[in-house]
Every structure is written in structure tokens, then in C-alpha cells.
């Protein structure tokens, strides 16, 4: 096999030698150190194979022996190269292809992350990039141990990680730390105190001694339900006080809206610009020269995906939406509507567990804005668990 490869690389010819004494031809070639193989005798000569170099060398010899040689077929690399000699581009292309192949096979093409649950993949990719791992970097420069150590120091939630370079993919395996179990702190002795000023409307005490009555007013920090209980044998028992104490609480909220403001609205005009992504390069691949004075842009990229690996080849589309700037001046009616809506939003989102008892809105107009001062009364649970003081 090896011999065949060597012969192929050097190139050889199958030839026919015609003459009176083919034996002499064999003897002389062997004496001159010319290798002949597959020598088959024919009627008036012989057929054999010989390397191209030797075939050129035996020309004088055949003339001396009065033997005529004729090539039957040519084999090997020199003939193939000769055949494609005029096509220089082909050879150049092959060389460039080989160089590209070598370069690209030493570059990170994609990063895959497995095992994340609480830690965001985007955040982890960002941290990895800060440590030198990103698409397009030279993979032989990556110091895996140092990267692992740095990422573990930077992200507390990761307990163990392994960075493996498999081909052109960096595979990151992560094991997150186990969360600390929440300790039950509802068992220690404590009091219930008022979280804010108000008038008590309802008391639902399941454990502890109630210290206030319905209808009484309390201020923030007043003791509502005590955790110190007296037993039947006149001894003191410390318990974990538990109660829901509802009270009417007064809140004040000031909302503001400007009289004149600018408002941006989207029009139907938009422009798409595509860019071709390849590793760390991106090339524009669409022609659109339309520009807007004011626009909002969104970016959207799609990468090729093969066998669970995201390849660094794709298209990034930037869509520019034209926006129009409008100057709006509010009147009393629209301002009231806006402020009422804001007040409703405040009630829904900032006081979701409270019941609205009353709302009193007072809208006033200044030089440049409308101001709404609202007095609320919410009925809400003001019970707040407070541990015993040392003095208690």
C-alpha cells in the first residue's frame, strides 16, 4: 500500500517495449538501477511499468538496444498537476480554502450553556465574554481553569462549572448552588404593634392578649396584641402573638401632570435594513437610504441552527419606525381624566391589599401643570410583628 502511494506521488507510466531482445532491456535497466514492475512478456517485447523519472532516463538506453517504447497509460500526481496547470485559480482556491479551514477550525463558533435555572444565560454569557470567551475568539488561547475560577468568583449562585472546548463549540456546564432553606421564625415570642396611625375597625387575634378595642385610635408603634400572657397559676407565658388588626388609615397622594407636553406617536412608515452576520463581522446586505428625523429602532437577529448548535452565521434586521412628535396642551377636562386615571392606578398597584373607604380629590392649576391632591382612607391590616425589647 505504502509502495503504491509512493509510486502514485512520484508518477509512473505503463509502457510497451518492442524489440528483438527484451531480456537485454531488463538486464540493462536493472544494472542502471531502474526499477521495473509488472513486466509481462508479449509476442515481440514486453509490457511493464516504470516511474516517470526512470522512463526519461532510459531513452538513450532504448536507442542503444534498438527497442521502441510507447507509453500505454500515465498515472500519478505529476500528471494530475500537469493536467490542471492552466487552471491556476483552482490551485489558489484550494490553498485559500485550506488556509481558511485551518483558521476557522481554531475559532470558537458557538457557546452552549447547560444546567442554568436561576442564573440568566445572557448574564452568564456576558460574564464569560468579560473573561475572554465569546464567539470568534481563538480557542487555543482560552485558559479554561482560569475562566472557570473567575466566573465562579463573579457569580455567587454558581456552585460548580466546567468549560469544555469540543471542536469549535465551547460547552459550559453549570451546577447552581442550593438555596438556603427558609427558617421558620414564626415560633419565637413577639408582640403585634401598629404599622401606621389609624382607627381600629376589626380585630382577629388568634394568639396573644388584645390591648386595644374596636373604634380606638392608635398611632404607629402602639401595642395592639401582647405576646405576654398570664397563666392560670399566675405565671407569665411568652407567646408568639398572631392577629389581623384592621384600621382606617389616612393617606395623602399628590399627582401632577404638565399642561403642555410632547408626545411621540408611531406612523406606518418603517425601513428594514439587513446585515449579514459572520463570526464578529457584519456586512450590509440591503440598500435602503430612507432616513427619518425621529425614529424608534428595533434589532432582530436570526442565526443558523444545526444539531442543537447555534452557528455564528445569520441575519440581523434593524427596523426603523418613523415617529412623529406632537405638542399637546391639556384643558381642565383632559387633565382631570388623566389625574383620575393615575389615582386609580395608584390604588390598584400600590394598595392591592387595602380596601378603599373614601377618596377626595382636589385639583388645582399652576402656571405649567395641574396638581391633584388626593386624601384617601384605606381600610387595611396594620398588624406588624415586633420582637420583644430587652426592657420588656
Amino acid at each position: 500500500m505504502l509502495l503504491k502511494i509512493i509510486r502514485f506521488c512520484r508518477g509512473y507510466v505503463d509502457f510497451r517495449a518492442v524489440g528483438k531482445f527484451p531480456e537485454r532491456f531488463l538486464n540493462l535497466t536493472s544494472r542502471y538501477g531502474v526499477n521495473i514492475w509488472n513486466a509481462n512478456p508479449t509476442d515481440n517485447g514486453l509490457e511493464a511499468s516504470m516511474s516517470v523519472y526512470d522512463y526519461r532516463k532510459i531513452r538513450n538506453l532504448t536507442r542503444k538496444l534498438k527497442i521502441k517504447t510507447k507509453i500505454k497509460s500515465k498515472h500519478g500526481m505529476p500528471f494530475i498537476i500537469n493536467k490542471y496547470k492552466p487552471r491556476v485559480g483552482l490551485a489558489v482556491g484550494a490553498v485559500i480554502g485550506a488556509v481558511l479551514l485551518i483558521i476557522l477550525s481554531n475559532i470558537v463558533w458557538s457557546i452552549s450553556i447547560t444546567g442554568t435555572n436561576r442564573v440568566s444565560n445572557t448574564y452568564l454569557l456576558d460574564v464569560l465574554e468579560k473573561n475572554g470567551v465569546s464567539v470568534g475568539v481563538y480557542k487555543n488561547n482560552l485558559d479554561v481553569k482560569s475562566i472557570e475560577r473567575n466566573v465562579l468568583l463573579q457569580i455567587d449562585d454558581i456552585g460548580w462549572m466546567s468549560v469544555n472546548i469540543v471542536g469549535n463549540t465551547v460547552s459550559v456546564e453549570v451546577k447552581e448552588k442550593y438555596e438556603k432553606p427558609e427558617l421558620n421564625s414564626d415560633t419565637g415570642p413577639c408582640n403585634i404593634k401598629a404599622a401606621s396611625d389609624g382607627v381600629i375597625t376589626d380585630i382577629k387575634a388568634s394568639k396573644g392578649v388584645t390591648q386595644v378595642l374596636i373604634g380606638s385610635g392608635v398611632t404607629k408603634g402602639d401595642l395592639l396584641v401582647s405576646g405576654i400572657m398570664e397563666t392560670k397559676v399566675n405565671t407569665i407565658q411568652y407567646v408568639h402573638a398572631s392577629a389581623e388588626v384592621y384600621a382606617d388609615v389616612i393617606y395623602q397622594k399628590e399627582l401632577k401632570t404638565p399642561i403642555d407636553y410632547q408626545y411621540y406617536s408611531l406612523t406606518e412608515n418603517k425601513t428594514n435594513r439587513n446585515r449579514l452576520l459572520f463570526l464578529w463581522f457584519d456586512f450590509p446586505c440591503s440598500f435602503s437610504f430612507e432616513t427619518y428625523n425621529d425614529f424608534a429602532a428595533d434589532l432582530h437577529s436570526q442565526n443558523l441552527w444545526c444539531n442543537n448548535i447555534t452557528l455564528p452565521i445569520g441575519i440581523k434586521t434593524q427596523t426603523s419606525h418613523e415617529v412623529l412628535k406632537k405638542n399637546i396642551t391639556q384643558n381642565d377636562k383632559t387633565a382631570k381624566q388623566v389625574l383620575t386615571n393615575s389615582a386609580l392606578l395608584y390604588e390598584v398597584f400600590e394598595k392591592p391589599n387595602s380596601t378603599l373607604v373614601s377618596r377626595k380629590m382636589n385639583i388645582s392649576k399652576t402656571k405649567d401643570s395641574y396638581i391633584c391632591k388626593t386624601d384617601y382612607i384605606f381600610n387595611e391590616n396594620i398588624a406588624q410583628t415586633v420582637d420583644f425589647d430587652v426592657t420588656e
Partner: protein, 91 residues
């Protein structure tokens, strides 16, 4: 330092049976009747598909058979392949 030609184990074996390789005798190695290697050739005298005659220092060795070919040839060694029916030593 020159190495003694007769110091190889093979020569030692021939010495033990009273043969001297330096005497110019050809050494013939046969693989059944399909392949023959002849060492000590001084040239091919006849080359036909049914008969190959090889000259050596002391004699002419003739191989008869069918489809005889010279598989490879060097200065003093010839390898013949084919269906050999007869080996003749002509002195």
C-alpha cells in the same frame, strides 16, 4: 570496521551443513510453485511467458511454466511469479 559477510545467522546455518555462499552459487527461494526469488543473477537470457532463463555465475537456471512474469528485478535478484512446472539447471 568491516562486517564479516559470513557472520549472519543464516550463513552460520549454511556453514553448519557444509555450504559456502561465497562460491557463486545462486540462492533460490520458492513459495510453492507460484513464486521464486533468485539471488545471484547476472542477467536474464530468455524472457517468455512459458520459459524464463536466468544466468548466474556457475549455471543457467531455467524456469518453465505458464504465465511467467518478472515481478521485480534488481542488480542481482530476480523475483518470478507464475505457475511453475519445471526448474532446470543447465551447466
Amino acid at each position: 570496521m568491516q562486517k564479516n559477510k559470513n557472520s549472519s545467522p543464516r550463513n552460520g546455518l549454511y556453514d553448519s551443513i557444509g555450504l559456502n555462499l561465497g562460491s557463486g552459487m545462486p540462492m533460490i527461494e520458492m513459495l510453492g510453485n507460484r513464486r521464486i526469488t533468485l539471488e545471484g543473477s547476472t542477467g536474464i537470457l530468455l524472457y517468455e511467458s512459458q520459459n524464463i532463463k536466468i544466468n548466474t555465475n556457475k549455471m543457467v537456471v531455467s524456469f518453465c511454466g505458464r504465465g511467467l512474469t518478472v515481478r521485480c528485478i534488481s542488480n542481482s535478484c530476480v523475483e518470478i511469479e507464475g505457475y511453475i512446472t519445471k526448474v532446470e539447471f543447465i551447466t
